[in-house]
C-alpha cells in the first residue's frame, strides 16, 4: 500500500524545476565572477576584442567591403557565441560536476540546461549592449519590424543549443574524445557560418546546393539575426548584396528548416542523454 502523496513526493524530486535551473545559473555566474572587480563587464570583453581584431582583418587588410562591419559581425557573432559557449561548457557539464552526480540524487537534465541558461544570460546582456551602442551612434536601422525576426531566430538558436548540449554532455561521459571533437567542430562552425563574411559568397560558391547549407540551423539563425539587427542590405563591390534576402519569407523558411533539424537533434540528444544518464555515477 502506497499513498499517492509519498509517490508524488518521490516523483517531484526527479523533475526539472525552474527554480533549480535558475539557482544553478546563479551559482555559475557567482562562481565565475567571484573575486573579480569588473565582474560581469568581462563578459563584454570577449566580443569587444573579437570586434577589434576582425574589423582590422576583414575591413582593413582583406577589404571585405561590408560597410559598418563591426555591427554586421556582432549581429551574427553574439548568437553564435551563445551556441558555442553553451555547447562548449555543456560538454564538461556532467564530468565537471562528478561530485554532485555521485552523491546527490537530482534531475540530471539540469546540468546541460543550466549551461544553456548561463550562455543565454550573457547573450541577452551583450545583445542589449550592442543595441544601445548602435542607437547611441545613430545606427538605428534595427528599430523596426525587422527586429521581430530576432524572436524566432533566437528561439531556433535556443532549440538547437539545447539539443546539441544534451548530446555532447551525455556522450562526453562515455567517450572523453567528445570534448576534443567539440572543440574542433566549434572552431570550424565559426568559419562555416556567415559571421565574418557575407552569405552571398556561399550562394555563389554552392550554386544548386545552396539549400543544403541551411540544414545547419545556425546558418539560418545567423542570417536572420543579421537581417534583424544589421538590417541594411548594401551592395558589395562584386555586385552581390551583403544579406541573403530583403524580405522575411526567406528567413522564416530557413528558420523553419533549422527548427526541424533542431527538433530531430533534440530527440536524439534527449534519448541518448536519458539512456546514458542512468550510469553517469558509475562512469565518472
Amino acid at each position: 500500500m502506497v499513498t499517492t502523496t509519498s509517490r508524488e513526493r518521490s516523483r517531484a524530486q526527479g523533475r526539472v524545476r525552474w527554480e533549480l535551473l535558475v539557482g544553478l545559473v546563479r551559482k555559475d555566474l557567482k562562481v565565475k565572477y567571484q573575486g573579480s572587480v569588473l565582474g560581469f563587464l568581462w563578459s563584454l570583453a570577449n566580443p569587444l576584442l573579437l570586434l577589434v581584431v576582425y574589423t582590422f582583418v576583414f575591413q582593413v587588410v582583406l577589404k571585405s567591403g561590408i560597410p559598418q562591419f563591426g555591427f554586421y559581425l556582432l549581429s551574427g557573432l553574439l548568437v553564435w557565441n551563445m551556441f558555442a559557449g553553451a555547447v562548449g561548457t555543456s560538454t564538461a557539464a556532467v564530468v565537471g560536476n562528478s561530485g554532485l552526480v555521485k552523491k546527490v540524487r537530482f534531475p540530471l537534465s539540469v546540468l546541460p540546461l543550466s549551461q544553456v541558461g548561463f550562455a543565454l544570460v550573457h547573450f541577452v546582456l551583450q545583445l542589449f549592449v550592442l543595441l544601445v551602442v548602435m542607437a547611441v551612434t545613430g545606427n538605428t536601422e534595427f528599430a523596426g519590424p525587422n527586429l521581430l525576426l530576432a524572436v524566432p531566430a533566437i528561439a531556433v538558436a535556443l532549440l538547437f543549443t539545447v539539443a546539441v548540449s544534451f548530446l555532447v554532455a551525455g556522450l562526453n561521459v562515455r567517450y572523453r574524445d567528445t570534448q576534443h571533437v567539440v572543440e574542433v567542430v566549434l572552431m570550424a562552425g565559426f568559419w562555416i557560418n556567415p559571421i565574418v563574411y557575407s552569405v552571398s559568397l556561399v550562394k555563389t560558391e554552392l550554386g544548386d546546393l545552396y539549400w543544403a547549407y541551411f540544414l545547419n540551423p545556425m546558418a539560418g539563425v545567423v542570417c536572420a539575426m543579421q537581417r534583424a539587427i544589421y538590417a541594411q542590405n548594401p551592395t558589395l563591390p562584386g555586385g552581390s548584396t551583403v544579406l541573403a534576402a530583403d524580405g522575411y519569407a526567406f528567413y522564416l523558411e530557413k528558420l523553419g528548416i533549422g527548427a526541424l533539424v533542431s527538433a530531430a537533434v533534440l530527440a536524439l540528444g534527449l534519448w541518448l542523454y536519458h539512456r546514458l544518464s542512468a550510469d553517469f555515477a558509475e562512469e565518472l
Binding site: 509519498s6 539557482g23 561530485g99 562515455r174 542512468a278 555515477a281
Partner: protein, 415 residues
C-alpha cells in the same frame, strides 16, 4: 508495522565492469575482439522491503556492498538486475560534503543543496535559520566552504539533509566524523525522526549503534544479504563473519600436516549448493578433506557444527570412527538432514576433525553462509503456540489498571 512500503528492492544485483570500460574511441577500437574484463559483482539478488517508519542499520565488512546498495536505493546508481521502488522524498547524505561547491559560501551551498533535494527557495528561506543553528556554523556561514574543516562539512551536510523534510533518510557512515557533541545531536535528530514515523536507513560500522537505535539490522556479505532481522542478531552475525566473536569450536588454525580441508558446501542435497532454506527443507552438508596415509588411522571423528549469530552452536552432527573411511585419500563426508528445523537467521558451518583421543587436529569454517526463514519475523525458532486470555478478577473501581494477559501474534512457524 505501518503497512506502507517506503523502499522495496527486488532481486537487486549490481556488477561493475572489471577494469572499466573504454572511455575513448581509441580504447574501444583497440579492445575490439578482446573479451571484456570479468565484471565485479558488488551486489547479488538483494531483496529488501522496508516499511515506512522503520530504522534500519546496514552493516557489513568493508567492500560488502553497503554503500553501493545505499546509492542504488538513493537512485544514484542503476541496478544491473532487479527493481527498486522508493516512495517518498529521499534525502541522502553520502560521504563527506554531499556535493558542496567549494567556491561558494555556506549560505549559497545551503540554498543550492536544498534546491537539488527538491525544496523551493521560499521553503529554504523558512528553514535557513534552523539549518544554520543546527550546523552551529553561524560565524562561518558566509565563508567559502573550501575553508571548512571536515567536521564543519559534515555538520552542514547533515543539517541540510535533515531539514528538507524527507520521508526517507539515507545516511552513509558520517556520524563517525565530527565531535561527540555533534554525533549526539545527530542521534537526537534521528530519534526525533523515528518518533515522527520517518524511514531511516544508515550504513555504519558502529555495531553498538545498531543495537541501540535500529529496529532492524541488515547484514551484507560479499554483496548478499546474509541476515535481515533483529539488530542484536544482525550484529552477532556480522561479528561472526568478521571473526571477532568468541569461537565455540576452537580457533581456526592450520590443520596438522597430513590433513587438508576441501570445500564445505551446503545444499538441498549434499554437494549441490544452495543459500536459502525454509524450515522443513532437506539440508545436505558436504565436507571434503584429503587425508595422508600417515594421518588416516589417527582420525577419530569429524564434528559438524551449524552455527548461528555470534557463533552460537545450533546443532551438532558427528561422524564416528567406524563411519569414516579407513584408507587415505580424498574423503567426502555427506551429512543429510531430512528436515531443517524452523529457524530464522543466517548460519555457517564449522567442521572439526578430532584424533582418537578427542583432541582437535583441524578446524575449518565454511565460506558459504546460508539462510533459513521459517515465517517468524524474529526469534531463532518458530514455535507453534496458542494464546489464552482470561480475566481472573472483576474490575474494581479505582485507579489500578485491569491486569489482562495479552498475546502478541499468532505463531506462523511451520512447526
Amino acid at each position: 508495522m505501518g503497512g506502507e512500503i517506503a523502499i522495496r528492492a527486488r532481486g537487486v544485483g549490481k556488477s561493475f565492469r572489471g577494469t572499466g570500460r573504454a572511455t575513448s574511441l581509441k580504447e574501444r577500437i583497440l579492445r575490439m575482439g578482446h573479451g571484456t574484463a570479468e565484471p565485479f559483482e558488488a551486489l547479488r539478488d538483494v531483496n529488501l522491503e522496508i516499511a515506512a517508519g522503520q530504522t534500519i542499520g546496514l552493516i557489513g565488512h568493508n567492500g560488502s556492498g553497503k554503500s553501493t546498495l545505499l546509492k542504488i536505493l538513493t537512485g544514484i546508481l542503476r541496478p544491473t538486475t532487479g527493481t527498486v521502488e522508493v516512495n517518498g522524498r529521499v534525502s541522502s547524505l553520502l560521504e563527506l560534503g554531499a556535493g558542496f561547491n567549494g567556491e561558494l559560501s555556506g549560505r549559497d551551498n545551503i540554498y543550492l543543496n536544498a534546491s537539488l533535494l527538491g525544496l523551493s527557495r521560499k521553503e529554504t528561506d523558512g528553514l535557513f535559520d534552523s539549518i544554520v543553528e543546527f550546523s552551529e556554523l553561524e560565524e562561518f556561514i558566509d565563508n567559502p566552504v573550501k575553508h571548512y574543516s571536515s567536521g564543519m562539512y559534515v555538520r552542514l551536510g547533515f543539517a541540510v539533509a535533515v531539514h528538507v523534510d524527507p520521508d526517507i533518510l539515507l545516511v552513509d557512515e558520517v556520524l563517525a566524523v565530527g565531535d561527540e557533541a555533534f554525533a549526539r545531536k545527530c542521534l537526537d535528530k534521528i530519534a526525533e525522526f523515528q518518533r515522527e514515523g520517518r524511514t531511516i536507513l544508515f550504513v555504519t560500522h558502529s555495531l553498538s549503534l545498531v543495537d541501540e537505535i535500529c529496529d532492524r539490522g541488515v547484514v551484507l556479505d560479499h554483496g548478499r544479504v546474509v541476515f535481515d532481522g533483529d539488530p542484536q542478531f544482525a550484529t552477532g552475525t556480522l561479528r561472526a563473519l568478521l571473526g571477532t566473536a568468541e569461537d565455540t569450536v576452537g580457533p581456526v588454525e592450520e590443520p596438522e600436516p597430513g590433513l587438508e580441508f576441501g570445500p564445505i558446501t551446503i545444499g538441498d542435497v549434499p554437494g549441490r549448493e544452495r543459500g536459502e532454506f525454509t524450515g522443513g527443507d532437506p539440508v545436505g552438508i558436504r565436507v571434503g578433506m584429503s587425508v595422508s596415509p600417515a594421518m588416516a588411522p589417527t582420525v577419530g571423528g569429524v564434528v559438524v557444527v551449524v552455527m548461528g549469530a555470534g557463533d552460537y552452536p545450533v546443532w551438532v552432527m558427528d561422524a564416528e570412527r567406524d563411519q569414516l573411511p579407513t584408507e587415505p585419500g580424498d574423503w567426502t563426508l555427506d551429512f543429510a538432514v531430512a528436515a531443517c528445523p524452523p529457524l530464522h537467521g543466517a548460519f555457517q558451518v564449522a567442521v572439526r576433525v578430532d584424533d582418537r583421543n578427542g583432541t582437535a587436529i583441524g578446524v575449518e569454517r565454511s565460506a558459504q553462509t546460508f539462510w533459513v526463514r521459517s515465517g517468524q519475523e524474529s526469534g531463532l525458532l518458530a514455535v507453534p503456540y496458542e494464546v489464552d486470555t482470561e480475566v481472573t478478577a472483576a474490575a474494581r473501581p479505582g485507579p489500578a489498571p485491569v491486569q489482562v494477559g495479552t498475546g502478541t501474534k499468532a505463531g506462523r512457524g511451520a512447526g
